[in-house]
Amino acid sequence: MALKQVSSNKCFEGFQKVFEHDSAELKCKMKFGIYLPPKAETGKCPVLYWLSGLTCTEQNFITKAGFQQAAAEHGLIVVAPDTSPRGCNIEGEDESWDFGTGAGFYVDATEDPWKTNYRMYSYVKDELPKLINANFPTDPERMSVFGHSMGGHGALILALKNPGKYKSVSAFAPICNPIQCQWGKKALGGYLGPDASKWEAYDATQLVKSYSGSRLDILIDQGKDDQFLSAGQLLPDNFIAACTERKIPVVFRLQQGYDHSYFFIASFINDHIKHHAKYLNA
């Protein structure tokens, strides 16, 4: 599990770095971005995992979201992995932007030819935290997860499927109910097979309905002018309704005028960092 530093840039008295390593789970080289706040030089810090959306690499978030200042202030290590295995030479992996490369969907694939490499759920849940905890001054007991779009879906399912593992969860325009939307149907069908009942294990709205773990405080921001919202890809209302019924505390903010872009993320990233810091630094 050797790490190779790809880049390192000083940022708000800490460092924004990119590392490359050989992933056992994904059977390929993977990169991830990691922000080390100044506090990490003297002590252990909690880790906040960011999951990016479709088509993204580890670069999008670290270059566009502008989270480093807030992370430095709150003393959080922020890890941003890639969104899928890359260079696995699987047939069809680069055919479309919403499936295969850049669209791992944070599931463990069960279907050929994806099931060997496309194990993003296990990668993010187990391998990556182990790697991070082994190589950086982290407090393994304190971790949280958040993400955008497909990453928002990933964050929600990770939190809902692993009660207590994550101190908090939040999302920007998450795909809340993938079994009901086009993106989800395509990806889940591709990775998990045609049996839709298997998909439910990776559907946040479905997972909420059976959630009975420790208390979660979910923050969701959604741009009102998000084209994917109106296209029915995100379906936050279904998730809200399920949470309301299951009494899962959610604050869902429909932000007037914002779209699906990183400009929207950058506008509210501080609120999310603060939301996680509240639980990670409690």
Binding site: D217, C243, H275
Partner: protein, 751 residues
Amino acid sequence: MDLYGSKDRFDIFPEELSGRGDRSLGDTRRDSALSSKKVQRPQEVGYDLEKEVAELAKMYGLDEDREKDLEFLGGHLEKVESRRPPARTEKAASEGSIYNTSKSSSSVKDPSQSTKQQGLPDEASQGENQSKARADDEAESNIWSTGGLSSGGMSDEWNSQAVSEEEEEEEEEEDAADVFCSTCKIPIRAFDKLFGEHKDHEVAQLPSAVESEKEEIHKNMCKLEEQIAQMENVASHLEEIFITVEENFGRQEENFEVHYNDAVQVLAQKYEEQLEALGEEKRQKLEALYEQLVNCGKHLDTCKELTDETQELFLENDKAEFMKAAVTMVDRLEEFLKKEVDLELSTLPDFEERVIDVSEVEQLMNSINAIPAPCAPMINPQAPNAATGTSLRVCWGLFSDDTVECYQLCYKPVSNERHSDEQAEHTLKVKETYCTITDLLPNTQYEFWVSALNASGISPPSERAVYVTAPSPPTIKNKKIRSCENAALVCWESRDINPVDSYTVELSKLIDEENDDIITESIVGIPNCEVLIHLQPTQKYHVRVRAQNLGGSSERSEPVLIHTTGTSFYLNEDTAHPLLAILDDGFTISCDELENPECDLPVYDNSFTRCIAILGSLIPFPGKHYWEVEVEEDTEYRTGVAFENTPRHGHLGANNSSWCMRHIITPSRHKYEFLHSGMTPDIRITIPPRRIGILLDYENCRLSFFNADLAQHLYTFNSHFQHYVHPCFALETPGILRIHTGITTPPWTQK
């Protein structure tokens, strides 16, 4: 200053000491003194050494035993003496001071002796002195046997101490004793212990015996020093009394002189007057008597004349002639005899009854002791803190040394009304030059004047002085206390009609839950009935107020307890909409119906007219303030903050002077709005909060709402509040809101 030669002692000891110190250098005088076995009395050192030596030699000639002791001297003396000087120096010093005050007969003896020796250095006196010295030796030896060096045996009197010292020295020099016989109480030679009469006696090493003895002496010296200090005190006190007596008697002498002179003058005048009157009476009496005498003589002459003529008539032989003459004569005689002869004394020889009027003198004599009526006393202006709410301490004084038996103090309340005469005037008789008058009204001006009285009469009244009683303790408005972690706003009301000068707030920080009333801080000079006090977080304080005026400060008000655990405010009833009711706890508001059928509810100037709302009164203090509102799930409400002057006819949140969270129940869901200027973000909350936490953070320019049960952040207004804001609460459906204050700001509200 000292009649008893202490100076000698002071001088002598150092000299002697230096002599000892120099001994190794071959001080001849010292050597000679030693070799001659002199009984060295300190007083005698200054004395002619040759004579001394001779005298001593003579003495020792009489005492064979001492000759032998000389042999031992060389070996022990040096050791013994080397230890002695410090003690002696101290002793000499304290002895000198003892002489200043202690005048015991025993101490008189020695100096007089020494004076005699120095004054009369002839052989006769020498001999006398010598024998006397020997007698002393014997006497001292007796003391040795009773007091001596034994511990606790030391006499309290200086005499025996001093003598013992001398004796001790003497003994050492002569015998070179090295052990101390506790039985005989004398130092002896170790040799004696082994073979001599002290064979069976208990002995101690001489150094240790010396040490214990020194300790004992030192103890006694301390006692003496204490006594000296005491005596000095007494002496200075006596001196004062001495001066006072002198002054007083001098004054009385003058007084007597003046009055007796007066009396003598009056008496002299009386004497003159009496003498004159007496002379006049005498002259008048004499004159009257003389006149009577003259008349008597005249009468006698006439009688004699008539007798002569009658006798001549008898000699007339001529009958006719005789008859003629006889008839005339008889007529003349008859006529003469008819005249009454005044034989009574025209005046009495005795004095007229004279009343000697000595009343004036009497008065004068009396007035020698009963001096004239005193002058008007001078009343002092009011001293600070001489008043309480119901009492005043009035002081006055006299200009002169008049004798005063008592004072007559009058007072009445100062009144601006014209009928001030109707105000009861009070009069008191007071012996002292001060008086504490009680049962007065608080914070009220009283006019005082005072006259002095003695047997001769009453003085004119003093000027009038106005005193004012201290105010009544204020009453802290318990329900109007606002506080937060770092401050409290306390207000109170004065119980007096008249205004007071200022107020003092006293803070007592309560530690360890004890009712610890130590004042930890005072704020003085507060002009209004309100003060903002800076406090420390998470403490308990007792706050009390005093009112202050010229007369002093009032009693403390009843304390109020302030916890600085969180922010506490109260609901401002003046702002309440007529349909909004505050329940007894003061923090629950309720609304039973949204429309009043009668529509004629009283509306106050400051109350909300449209929104069924009320404002709280929050402490105007920067920093953080947190409170919670308990709501029913089916109640529609608005809650947040607003400027004090937020429009009363509008809805909270609909304007730019209020910020609030609104709960609306729609057919499908609970809807939450976060309103300011009528605008709200679109926010969905999956769990309707039952307890809303509100954090007002002036410093970070934010107002946050939380689901306090879940520690869930709901929304934050980022706004720089231009003025201080107040909590606001409104009901939009019938129901209740419970407000909780004084809550520690939960950690999860921090950013």
